[in-house]
Structure formats: structure tokens, C-alpha cells
Amino acid sequence: MTAQHKIHSKDLNLWYGDFHALKDVSIAVRDRMITAIIGPSGCGKSTLLRCFNRMNDLNAAVRVQGGLFLDGQDCYGARLPLTQLRKRVGMVFQRPNPFPLSIFDNVAYGPRVHGVTGKDRLAEIVEQSLASTALWDVLKDRLWEPALDLSAEQQQRLCISRLVAVEPEVLLMDEPCSALDPIATEHIEELMRTLAEKYTIIIVTHNMQQAARISKETGFMLLGELVEFGQTEQVFTNPRDKRTEDYVTGRYG
């Protein structure tokens, strides 16, 4: 793979016990832009996403086979410890999941975990991270209030700030807007466009308009296979595979 590919997998297979959930998935995600993964429910989008930061490892029944590389480095190799991989490849979840701590402590959590201790340094990181998601001006006087008191959109933004605070390289987002209303969704999409200047973003979404709106490249999955992967415009307007065409034109399911 060329240097501009941030993450790529090679013949990635995954089983939940006996269930074959990912079948020979080979995908190459490019740096500093948004890649969308679409497909019907249960096709393995979330599973694939969780491979990139090895969250599937938490499930003892999962077995993985094949290659997965971050900047050409083997994600399962000894040179890339798990905690380092997860620091570099962060994840935003479907339901906003801020910790039941103060806003400050939520954002400072990641840096603390990775060994940042100085009070001033932490305050600086918190300010920058909140600013990067446009939360700083709103929340700078409420830093010690519980994060769970925020609105859903603010919580999701906070989760993104929390991630940005550990200076990741890749942001994985699993349906980050599905718990939000249309206006909040629009705001988060805007935020993602800004973030894409600095980070590689992979978003899983059920919303095809969303994928079309924000992503440069799109992958279509079906029953554990990556059926098609290419420029978003091409996937939506001129798909190579019949199954992709059926799905994007709404004929599937």
C-alpha cells in the first residue's frame, strides 16, 4: 500500500464463535479525509470498525485472521502495543458515553491515562480539545459540572473532545449521529468536516445521504463482505456491483 493509506486490512476474517462475520475484507483507508462505510443492518460495519482499534478483543468468543496495518505497521505486532494502537485510533460510539465525571475530568481522562500529570498542561489540553469541537466558549465556566448534565449533542461533542485530547490519528465513528436530532446531526457533520483536515475519519452510517454529504470515499458492505469500495460519488451514482446499486437506489431490503 502507498504511504497515503492510513489504515489497511488484508483478507481480514472475523468469527463470533462459529459465525463468520467478516469475510476477506481488504480495505485501504486514506489519510486525512472521511471514509464512510454503509450497508444494511447486521452486515458487519460495526464489527469491521471495531477491528481497527481491536475493540473486538474484549470479546473472548471473537477470532480474527488476516492482516491489519496502521501506517504499514502490523496492528497485531509486538511493536504496536494495544494501548498505543487505541491511543492512535480512537473511537466515538453510537450513544454518547461521557464518563460520570466532570466535563474537565472527561477530557483530561485520556491524557491522564497516558501519563500527563501537570495541572497547567492538563488545563491547556482541555481547553484546546474543547475548542476543537467548539465547546470551549459554551462550557468554559462549567468545567466542573457533571458531563451527564449536558445535552445529547454536547455529550457527543464532549466524547469527540475527549478523543482529540489524546492526539489520535484516526477517529472511528459508529453511527455518531443516530442518537441526535437533525440539527445536532448537521452540527456534528460540520465538525467532522473540520476535523478531517487533521484526522483520518471512518464513519459507519445507516444514513446514505449523510455518507454522500460528508465522505470522500465509501465502502458498501453486505453479509460480512466489502462488496464495493471507491470514490463516494462513483459508489452512489455509478456503482460497479449490482448489489451496491440495489442498495443505494433503495431496492434492497
Binding site: 480512537g90 460510539f93 461521557p98 485520556g110
Partner: protein, 304 residues
């Protein structure tokens, strides 16, 4: 459109019956609740009625601060017993709290689920062992061990603390496990996804998220320790001095009541009820402190 009103329309009679039924059930529940509460009120009132007069007669300050307990001569001072109860309870809380919490953390965070479903009930089973058995094991094994290896009479604050600590383990562990298991998985996932280790996640997120439940576990465990009588009588030594080391024997408030109630009469008997009053107040104070601490901590600026 009728259907858009949501609720189906009832006839006036039906609605009246519904309301009647609600009223009936809620009044039954009210009676049940009131009788439970009034039972507690009656018991409390009785203890205070029996104990308070002698306390006032001796003087409340003198009663709780004097170390002279000579019932035959009319000297009633329970300071040593108060200190005894506090020392033994604190010791038990350290031992039982640390062990119980540790146990719960290991079970919930580092064991497979099936192991928890076997181990947790087994630990809860320990709560069913009569306290006299704990006391007996304490006397036969623990007390001689302390006497030989650490010195002193063996019957001591330390022995009582260990026995009580073990006795409160089931309570503390079981409630802590419930509290820890109630923490949403999303918190753990969020932390792990940031590159935190399991231990960091447990320490910095899960323990904090379950704090109020863990405090409740400690309070209930403490309640068990303060109130326990039989096992303590067997291993504490029951002397009437303020303990000056953890190897010294003690007498607790509960032991005092249990040891002397059998033959006490008149003022002596009333003084034992007064001991009960003090016990009651101490438990109230401990619980209030624990509750306030847990509330304050959850609102605290947790910057440090």
C-alpha cells in the same frame, strides 16, 4: 379524530371503578408502610423511654465521658465501651471493607461472568453462618495466634476486628458486586477505546461511577459490625478499660448490654437501655457521615 386522543374513553362508571380500585390499593399500601414505620417508632420510643431518664439523672456528658462503670454503686460511665465499639468497628471496616471491595473488583472486572455467578452466591452463603461459629473459630484459632505471635492476651481489638471484618465480607462483597455490575458497559468501552488499561479503567471510571453503591455497601457492612454481639463477646476480652493498643482487650456497647442484661435490675437495667440509646445515636451519626461524604464527593470538584 377520536383515536388521536390516545386514551380510550371509559364510561363514567368504569372511570369511577378505576379510581376506587386505585384508592383501595394505595390505602392498603399506606397501611402496610405505616405499620412498618410505626413498629420502628415504637421500638425507638421504648428504648428512649427506658434509657433516657437514667442518662439525664447521671448527666448525659458524664454518662458518655466517664470511665467508671460500677453499677452496684450507681456509677454509670460508658466511655470505654464507646471507644471499644468505635475501635472494633473501624478495624472491621478496614479489614472487611478492603477485602470485600477487592473481592468485588476482582470478581466483576477480572473474572469471567460464569465464575461470578458461582462465586457470588457462595460468598453470600457465608452470611448464613451463625455468629457464634465465627466467634468460636476466632477463639480457637485467631486468639491463640495473636497471643503467640503478637503478644497480649489474644482477646483483643485486633481479634474482634478480624472476626467482624470477615463477618461483614458477604454484605460488603455482595452489594459492591451489584454496584459494580450496574455500571454501564459503555463507560468501560469508552475508557478502553482511549487506550486505558483494564486497571486504569476500573480505578478511574468504574469505581467512581459506582461510588454511591460502594458507600452503601460499606455502611451496611459497618452496621453489621457495630451491631454484632455474640462473636465479639467471644473474642474481645470484655474488660472495662479504654483500649490503648490493638492488642488490648475491649468491651463494646453491644457486649455490655448482652453480658449484663441477664442479671441487671433497677437503675442498672435502665443504664443498659441508655447504652442502647447511645448505640442508636452512634449508628445514626455514622450513617449520616457516610451519606454526606458520599454526596459531597459526587458533587466535589474532582480536579485533583
Amino acid at each position: 379524530m377520536r383515536a388521536s386522543q390516545g386514551m380510550p374513553k371509559r364510561s363514567p362508571l368504569g372511570a369511577w371503578l378505576d379510581r376506587k380500585q386505585d384508592l383501595f390499593i394505595s390505602s392498603i399500601l399506606l397501611v402496610v408502610a405505616l405499620s412498618a414505620i410505626s413498629g420502628l417508632v415504637v421500638i425507638t420510643a421504648f428504648i428512649f423511654k427506658e434509657g433516657l431518664p437514667i442518662m439525664l439523672q447521671v448527666g448525659v456528658g458524664k454518662f458518655v465521658s466517664s470511665s467508671d462503670w460500677y453499677p452496684a454503686e450507681g456509677h454509670f460511665g460508658i466511655f470505654p465501651m464507646i471507644m471499644g465499639s468505635l475501635a472494633v468497628t473501624a478495624g472491621a471496616l478496614v479489614i472487611g471493607g478492603v477485602l470485600g471491595l477487592g473481592c468485588a473488583v476482582v470478581l466483576t472486572q477480572f473474572c469471567p461472568r460464569w465464575a461470578v455467578s458461582i462465586l457470588k452466591p457462595s460468598i453470600e452463603l457465608l452470611a448464613g453462618i451463625p455468629s457464634v461459629v465465627y466467634g468460636f473459630i476466632g477463639v480457637v484459632i485467631l486468639v491463640p495466634m495473636i497471643r503467640v505471635h503478637l503478644g497480649g492476651p489474644g482477646l483483643s481489638v485486633l481479634a474482634s476486628s478480624i472476626v467482624l471484618g470477615i463477618m461483614m465480607l458477604p454484605t460488603v462483597t455482595s452489594i459492591s458486586v451489584d454496584a459494580l455490575q450496574a455500571v454501564p458497559k459503555a463507560y468501560r468501552d469508552g475508557s478502553i477505546a482511549l487506550g486505558a488499561t483494564h486497571w486504569q479503567t476500573t480505578r478511574m471510571v468504574i469505581l467512581k461511577a459506582s461510588r454511591s453503591g460502594l458507600v452503601a455497601a460499606m455502611i451496611l457492612g459497618m452496621g453489621r459490625a457495630v451491631g454484632e454481639t455474640m462473636a465479639v463477646i467471644m473474642v474481645a476480652g470484655n474488660t472495662l478499660d479504654v483500649p490503648d493498643s490493638i492488642l488490648a482487650p475491649v468491651r463494646t456497647l453491644t457486649s455490655n448490654i448482652a453480658l449484663e442484661m441477664g442479671y441487671a435490675a433497677g437503675d442498672h437495667r435502665k443504664a443498659l437501655f441508655a447504652t442502647g440509646v447511645v448505640l442508636f445515636v452512634i449508628i445514626m451519626i455514622l450513617n449520616t457521615i457516610a451519606l454526606t461524604v458520599s454526596r459531597r464527593r459526587s458533587r466535589r470538584k474532582s480536579g485533583a
